[in-house]
């Protein structure tokens, strides 16, 4: 991998304070308000607690915000002709994608590490394996949202569209059982939205398969195939859309 390119890309992103705030600062703040502060945080979920449940969700929100932004930036760089400029160099498309993927994973790791550290300091509890497994799933699963951001950029061809993609994650987070635990018909709808599968799989190590029911404080059992199918289907949809949009933008040039 071209480490100079990787390092400069990271430096560029870190210099963008607004972006870093929305990626890491905002979800960390949301965790502190909703996850660490209230009394229900210490309510148990199996061997862990509700703070842990909210911590994983906020880390996931931060991680997808990061990858959506980076996916979108690829589209913006294409529009601005930077990709053409790089096309004059020996760098291959594969090198470019590798660096971007490494950058996306690195930036997505920032909110995860920050929020998990805050969680550790403010009472989120679970066995060590839950911390590790959930963190890994949050990181890996966030990659498919790089495609989500890329699609917005390619489809609407503007920087504003990429910001809109980032904003849409707030809505998807409510719909995806991230910000507040859903039950009943809301949960039934949630199961079809793109963030649901991702966050459910990340929390599965903690819940053992259930989802939190606010009414009873207990867990509603959800079979594994549901979040798994959700994640696979949505990732496929994003990937197919990206292939189509990249092809379309090539023929337009």
């Amino acid at each position: 991998m071209n480490t100079t390119f990787y390092r400069l890309e990271l430096r560029r992103l870190v210099r963008d304070y607004t972006n870093m705030f929305f990626t890491a600062g905002l979800p960390a703040f949301l965790y502190l308000i909703f996850g660490a502060g209230p009394e229900y945080g210490s309510d148990p979920i199996r061997e862990g607690n509700v703070s842990m449940w909210i911590m994983i969700a906020m880390a996931a929100y931060g991680a997808v915000t990061a990858t959506t932004g980076i996916g979108g930036s690829v589209a913006v760089e294409r529009m601005q002709g930077w990709t053409r400029q790089l096309g004059l160099t020996p760098m291959s498309d594969r090198d470019y994608v590798t660096v971007k993927a490494a950058v996306a994973a690195t930036i997505a790791a920032v909110p995860i590490l920050l929020i998990y550290s805050l969680g550790y300091l403010t009472g989120a509890k679970a066995p060590l394996s839950v911390w590790l497994i959930s963190g890994a799933i949050v990181l890996v699963g966030a990659v498919s949202f790089a495609l989500y951001g890329l699609n917005f950029g390619l489809a609407f061809r503007s920087e504003a569209a990429v910001s809109a993609a980032g904003g849409s994650l707030v809505v998807l987070s409510f719909l995806g059982n991230i910000f507040i635990p859903l039950s009943g018909w809301q949960l039934a709808v949630a199961k079809f939205t793109p963030l649901y599968g991702y966050v459910s799989l990340a929390r599965r190590a903690l819940t053992g398969g259930g989802t939190l029911d606010v009414e009873t404080g207990g867990l509603i059992d959800v079979p594994l195939w549901q979040p798994l199918t959700n994640a696979v289907v949505w990732t496929t949809v994003f990937a197919v859309a990206a292939l189509f949009l990249v092809k379309r933008s090539r023929t337009r040039q």
């Binding site: 071209n2 100079t4 390119f5 400069l8 430096r11 560029r12 210099r15 963008d16 760089e77 601005q80 002709g81 930077w82 990709t83 053409r84 400029q85 790089l86 096309g87 004059l88 160099t89 020996p90 760098m91 090198d95 040039q253």
Partner: protein
Amino acid sequence: MEHSCLHLRALKKEFNTKGDITRAVDGVDLEVRQGEIVALLGPNGAGKTTTIDMILGFTDPTSGTLSVFGESPRDAVRAGRVSAVLQTGGLLRDLKVGETLELVASTYQNPPPIEEVATRAGLDGLEKRKVQQCSGGEQQRLRFALALLANPDLLILDEPTSGMDVGGRQTFWESMRAEAARGRTVVFATHYLQEAEDYAERIVMMADGRIVADGSTDQIRNLATDRRVSARFSPAELEAAAAAARAMPGTNSVEVQDNRLIVATVDSDAVARNILGPWNGSDLEVSAASLEDAFVNLTQEIQS
């Protein structure tokens, strides 16, 4: 022995836009040898940029053959043998000048030292500045520096000075000349006749996707040196002056508008000397024929 660095044969490029087929490049034959400085001259829409895109491997030709140093365009680019300053090449606005150079240098095996390239492109003292704070001319010099990082044998410049002020243009062409003196082959596209005249040894004129003239700068200049001499005469003397202008060698056309006589000629000095005095002409204006006029003439010659 001279080597061919560019070889284009019967090159065509068609675009299909909503069912209509546009021929952007319509059968171009071109041979560029090592060490030449060639201007690709033509109005907007002549097919210059599309030709350059094919030379750089950004688009594939619809038909015809094309090789760069005997290789395919992409291979020549990957080997760093050819590089370019693109009209549409974007830069990252939030990257600093020095960082941009560092990034692009990192894609090459043995790039020349960044400081040296920055100096050659006239970027000294700008390394720490963000690209978005650079003027258009400075950004163009940065693109030039990025092209130099390839240490290319062939340098292609697509309208390199568009949007630059006069001073910027001059500095830019001085740097380009210095690079040509190092033995690089330079092909540049322009729609300014003056730039082609001043900086190229050979001019290839394009119109409507075809090459309409190809020759040394002197040869091309002679094709396009019609000048327009226009002066005011009193109504009494206008007819006689027009007749005298028509009789002069080198006159291509004579027109009368109100009380003005407009003469298109290859020898504007002689017309001015011999017509103005005897018939008391006043308010003299001499202008070079526009490039568009030259193209019209050339394309008509080719078709007839």
